[in-house]
């Protein structure tokens, strides 16, 4: 795999300077650079994290507090004085106010899980089979079939949502879980990535099993899959995140609020009720924190997957 051998060259290009400085001057200069670098790192990290900090703390405090401490900029612009779970109770429909507003994000959160998990399960099954076919099996004109699959890598995504909707409607799948699962049960990205992983597995293992009279399916289950677990974890992670974060497709494919996914529901909620900032923060946190936690836990796999396939999921 391309990325594995790239990691051998870590720590490139820090070019030592030819210098005549004394040791103390060198130490001071190095120390200064280290401090500067630390400050720079902190500033960059903050730029990328501040929206999340504001969102998460904002979801845990009273609305009046959010506005009251906005000016002037201070610690309490972000950090709550009085903590509360009120907004989460509201959006999950556990409080009277939430019930009155017809909020039940727990249900939509569950829908997001069902759809994302469903796609990952189907995708693991069918893409693994497909990648095994391309990496291992003999078939006439196999390169043509591979081209047929890989050309779809270049089918632009958002631009083809309306055409996809026309087909899904024709199949009468619109407004169902299936509409959100079926179009993604095979993925050219995942097949492409898995072919790379499978090719790293020595073919002698297959051959030995074939001579013992094992079927293709048996070889796939007992030889290939156990040895490709890191690759399978990686693609599952990318796929889960990709489906979890989809917005445009569920927005047009599903109208029924009971089966709608969380991303779409938080959007319609905010456009309708611009004033409920606490609930909006809480809903956004609910929709993003699960994938962020999964990502932080499995970051190594994630980075490797993106670097290997060149896609976001």
């Amino acid at each position: 795999m391309a990325v594995a051998d790239q990691t051998q060259h870590r720590g490139a290009a820090v070019l030592p300077r030819a210098g005549l400085e004394s040791d103390t001057a060198k130490m001071i200069r190095r120390g200064g650079i280290a401090v500067l670098r630390a400050v720079l790192f902190a500033v960059i990290s903050l730029i990328f994290l501040i929206p999340f900090i504001w969102m998460i703390f904002g979801s845990l405090r009273r609305e009046t507090e959010i506005f009251q401490y906005l000016f002037p900029l201070s610690l309490h612009t972000f950090y709550p004085i009085e903590w509360t779970l009120e907004h989460y109770r509201d959006i999950l429909g556990l409080s009277e106010a939430g019930n009155r507003a017809g909020l039940n994000f727990g249900r939509n959160l569950l829908n997001s899980f069902i759809v994302s998990t469903g796609v990952v399960v189907f995708s693991l099954l069918f893409n693994t089979m497909g990648a095994y076919f391309f990496a291992r099996l003999k078939f006439p004109k196999k390169n043509w079939l591979l081209a047929f699959v890989l050309v779809t890598l270049f089918v632009p995504f958002e631009v083809t949502m309306i055409p996809l909707y026309i087909v899904v409607r024709y199949l009468n799948l619109q407004n169902s879980y299936w509409a959100m699962i079926v179009p993604w049960f095979a993925s050219p990205f995942v097949i492409f990535a898995l072919i790379q992983y499978f090719r790293d597995i020595p073919y002698e293992l297959d051959e030995a099993a074939l001579l013992d009279g094992a079927s293709y399916l048996h070889i796939l289950r007992t030889v290939i899959v156990p040895l490709a677990i890191p690759g399978l974890v990686t693609v599952s992670l990318l796929e889960f995140q990709f489906i979890w974060n989809l917005f445009y497709w569920p927005l047009i494919a599903v109208q029924d609020k009971d089966i709608q996914v969380l991303q779409v529901v938080i959007s319609s909620q905010t456009t309708q009720e611009q004033t409920f900032w606490g609930r909006t923060f809480a809903g956004s946190a609910l929709a993003s924190v699960p994938v962020i936690l999964i990502f932080l836990a499995l970051q190594r796999y994630y980075v490797r997957g993106v670097a290997a396939t060149g896609i976001k999921g």
Partner: protein
């Protein structure tokens, strides 16, 4: 495939049947079953949509009333005089032209800064990647609140350095740049990962050779890093241009195409025609044109950025 060596049937020839049910054909059929589900998926949900949108673009077509009269190329002719369409193309192009170069330069600088794998670099990398794993819709919701003309966090930050409140998303000249900043923040992690992998693939000996020749850090960067990174940079530019050309969600959530159509990008216009105005035929024609533009743009970019060897 190169890796597939012969699985020649060495097992007793006597067992083999003749004709289409021969041992060899059975093996081929079994093999084919492995790829059938994926082929069905790509045919039905990738190829047929494109074909059916080409067909739908030639008809009067709405979701309520279905396919009606065949009107040939009328939708395409209508596009020529549809100034909203041309405007949306311009807005889309502006977005891509603002976003892609800035994002590439920033992520290249970050990649160089973070290429030594220290603890600090790991923390920064995690921070930069967090927006990337968040959905565009959540990013759009939170940023719309940060940009809020009265209660936005950015107003408070500007206030801290003495700048009065500014309108962002409700100002026709600032809305598109505001969305661009948000999307750079969101997508930077993606180009960073790819460029970091690209940097790691450059053998250290190349830098040593440059040093021996008396190059300083900047010269080494310009003469060694950039040329060797060119294929990776090209890949990032093309994929980012293609992704950015299709921007939809932030416009849908933050501005609804406004103010004064200043953020009405092409995909949002297609959505409007199809779902707000119920004109699926015209929306399909627009999708077909967008598809053709994307093919031309990505092909052109690849030709233009091909490393000169």
């Amino acid at each position: 495939m190169a890796t597939v060596t012969s699985t020649a049937p060495t097992i007793q020839p006597a067992v083999r049947a003749r004709g289409i049910f021969s041992w060899r054909n059975r093996q081929l059929m079994i093999a084919f079953l492995f790829i059938v589900p994926a082929l069905i998926n790509f045919t039905v949900f990738r190829y047929i949509p494109i074909a059916s949108s080409i067909r739908a673009s030639l008809y009067e077509y709405s979701l309520l009333r279905g396919l009606r009269d065949f009107i040939g190329l009328d939708h395409y002719a209508r596009m020529l005089n549809d100034w909203v369409f041309w405007d949306s193309l311009k807005v889309t192009a502006l977005f891509v032209i603002y976003k892609v170069p800035i994002q590439i330069v920033l992520s290249l600088a970050l990649a160089v800064l973070l290429q030594r794998e220290t603890v600090g670099a790991g923390v920064v990398r995690s921070a930069v990647l967090t927006p990337m794993v968040t959905s565009v819709i959540v990013a759009s919701i939170i940023w719309a609140m940060m940009y809020h003309s009265q209660l936005g966090l950015i107003q408070s930050m500007l206030g801290a350095v003495g700048i009065p409140r500014q309108a962002f998303l409700s100002d026709a000249s600032r809305a598109l740049p505001a969305i661009t900043v948000m999307m750079i923040w969101k997508d930077l992690g993606f180009s960073l990962i790819i460029l970091l992998a690209g940097l790691k693939a450059i053998p250290h000996t190349y830098y040593e050779a440059a040093l021996v020749d008396g190059a300083n850090a900047w010269e080494a960067f310009r003469r060694v890093t950039i040329p060797l990174l060119m294929p990776v940079l090209m890949f990032v530019v093309v994929t980012q241009a293609v992704f950015s050309f299709q921007v939809f969600v932030p416009v849908y959530q933050m501005t609804q195409g406004g103010p004064l159509d200043s953020t009405k990008v092409l995909v949002y216009y297609i959505y409007q025609q199809g779902f707000r105005f119920q004109d699926m035929g015209y929306a399909s024609a627009l999708s077909v044109v967008a598809l053709i533009i994307l093919i031309i743009v990505s092909y052109g970019l690849m030709r233009w950025l091909r490393p000169q060897t």
